[in-house]
Symmetry: D3
Subunit: 189 residues, 6 copies
């Protein structure tokens, strides 16, 4: 049989966690019906847990400029490049729900060039993939190009920042071997 552990590293008990973290986890559980494994896996390191979820909240829970669905689209596209099973499966579920589209997440994860994307979505995904794969090659011209397509500086920053955050998140999930909860696979289909 295959390995069903949440993480390759020890995972603390909920009762042993600091109050703020336990409250946050219980709130997620109430909202989602289950505790996403990333919360348990990162709980091993309270300071990193807090910094990560603060980062996540400021970049993913906003509808200003980029919509929430557009933010999830960036996560799925760039996490697929990094072959991060946790992020593709978990954020694929959230993308299906936020975009009210049962197909988009699988399309973007397998091949963004063949996905049903609007022109705006395509521009977002292509800039995000550049930052994910080869951020060193981004020049002033790339920013000019995005501005000429109608993106504000704050939107461009958000695309870059979300991609950066999931460059981090993908590596955490991959080196720690964080397992996506089975619940995510079928959500929003």
């Amino acid at each position: 049989m295959s390995d069903q552990r949440i993480s390759r590293f020890d995972v603390p008990e909920l009762d042993d966690l600091p109050d703020d973290m336990r409250q946050q986890i219980l709130a997620v559980q109430e909202r989602s019906g289950f505790v996403p494994n990333v919360f348990l896996a990162l709980a091993r390191r309270p300071a990193e847990f807090r910094a990560f979820f603060d980062f996540h909240a400021t970049l993913m829970d906003s509808d200003e400029g980029l919509s929430k669905a557009e933010r999830e689209l960036i996560v799925v596209a760039t996490s697929a490049v990094n072959q991060c099973l946790y992020c593709v499966v978990a954020h694929g579920a959230i993308l299906r729900i936020r975009a009210k589209d049962p197909l988009l997440a699988d399309q973007v994860a397998v091949n963004p060039a063949k996905a049903d994307l609007t022109e705006r979505q395509r521009a977002i995904v292509e800039f995000a993939l550049r930052v994910a794969r080869d951020s060193a090659s981004v020049t002033d011209h790339d920013l000019e190009d995005m501005r000429s397509k109608g993106f504000s500086d704050d939107e461009i920053w958000d695309i870059g920042a979300i991609t950066a955050l999931f460059a981090l998140s993908n590596r955490y999930a991959n080196f720690a071997g964080i397992r996506p909860n089975d619940e995510f696979y079928g959500m929003g289909r």
Copy 2:
């Protein structure tokens, strides 16, 4: 709105097809409830249609040596490497059904190293990925290695041959832009 065409090339009407092809397509439709788009897209070229589905039948409809689920596993893993949306989505559905496992296809498509695979499945997938990505580097030692893991020559051949067939199929679907039917995404979940 995005492009919903079956293929980038003209697709013939069912009524204009030779009898054998029309019968074959109607039989699939009866079995599956819909006509998978690859049948319509390839129908443009009857000789290629027949050769492709003959190849497919001999390599995919057998349970000798490799099980049908193992055969689909090879297709999903190698088609993900080639980012073939049609094959990952359509054969992902078939894999879920044949393996009676709603998670395996997504796992293998995103990151085979993190998938819930048995040792035998892992050896199959790793050899298939070598043939998919860099067949030129396969040596006698690789075959010895597979034999030492208990695979027969016919099983090794089947892994290589299925990978080869989908190297072809992935390229057809990708250059012709064949769209997976919406029905596939949710099957077997």
Copy 3:
């Protein structure tokens, strides 16, 4: 001394083959003066043998749209990308003969960018190399581009399909270690 086997897998005796296959092989032998090893290596699997040579006949033995030399040019260029010794050597010989040019095959195999190609040949080779290397990135724009260069949809399909067939053929020859007959190296020089 080095390995001179036809294939890494057992090869059947000509006398043990089904009639249609034996007749086909004898006809090739009469035409070429020898039996190309791919016939013997694939004969191990009659259904795959028949499907492969049906595919080959429909895509390679036609002069409609693409000339026979142009078809061989695609095979040599894409097989070199896949480092398939059998296909580069065997189809290099056929290309020299069909193009009546003793230099072209070696040029295309080593570096298509430096080969003596007409503009039409160069467009064919470049599209074929895209499909060989990264078919997932082909978009509607690439097809428009080929149409604007004067290629019909049937010609574009043929370039893609021949590339796809040899993506299959190259992998078969590479995993099975099919050895090119010595006769091919010097033909057409």
Copy 4:
């Protein structure tokens, strides 16, 4: 003349920043003699600023398990892979100071395989480079391998986490074009 801007995005005035951020920046300035540009560039986004420097403090300002010099070594090695000018130059300076070695940073940035590393340092750098380049391929065996070399689970986590944080940091610095302060280049030589 070349571009001397701190960032491709607008940078706020120190006086316009929230108190906690201004105090933090002034403290850095007092300690270093100048304000590293990353503080000014990220100040545009207070929530991201705070989350980033919290992350940074917990992972970089500790001597438990990994030494501070070992932590900087990870940053320089992985930031070189991502060609992040800001991080290689700024953390190269810090590495020279923390390791009391004027050569190590340049060696690791150009070619870790040729750097003067102890066995322990080499194991750290190699695991970090795996996570930086291809975290998806990390398996249980890689963790066992690190444990067998004497690393604790907390040390292994730290190597992965620091690499992940700078995967984020490198992408921010690269898409935003954050310029390293001239002061960094000569520090610690």
Copy 5:
């Protein structure tokens, strides 16, 4: 028709060359029956011409340690990696002659893993390919490995040095577009 120029840069007249160079070229012409184009293309720069052919003489015209055929084998294998048409075609001819083998050059150029190589030849080619593709990754262990296979330090140096010389030669031929003489293609077959 395609481009038949010797080089993308102007080529001097034989009569305008310094005596030593003209004598050297006439001697080659007498020996080979034609003037290889690399002599004419490099003649544009007498100092580079002399340094290159001095380098070439010391590394390629010796039978000490490595045989002349082994030296040519290195040139063909590494020039194929760099897709240098001039060097693969010209040195392919010389290899056929020196190794008295009409097949080896094409085999090594297309796929060294499938070439008819002795164990010693295979070790030479594999070390050369490492230096050609990724010399930065060569470590003390690689040299130990070669010594343990029976190579002297002078032989190892020669493999590395010949590979280095043709890294130079391949780039000259590629940026200058030096055309291999038609005579080379058929020599030694």
Copy 6:
């Protein structure tokens, strides 16, 4: 402790060298204050030593067309691509001195896209990187493009030739493990 040898191969004594080589080395020592290790490492092979330094003199000691600083810029940029510690460190020092710029060498070594380059310098570096990484893809159009930016044929040749010489030099330094003298790291800062 780490390895401090000049080279992985034996290095001759200065007194055992031919007169011309010993004089050349003593002259360098007088000029620089120390003997750069590449002189000692190559001295093992007098003919290669002489050919290499002749090549070097003709390409690097000229101010015609390309300035000496531009020549060093090519060396640092392309040696960084090849991860050659010796050449990046030694020629980084020379570039700082010749360009009278303490920052440029580190910028170009880490990420040329972010370096403070004039338009002319950027064109030089980009063409050099093409030749370093993928010389096979250089076409007539690339030369036309350089000419249209104001470069003479001799300047274009020099960029290609210097890149080619350091493709050689980087491989020598990498396979032989030539250690840069400690003096280079701090020069010109």
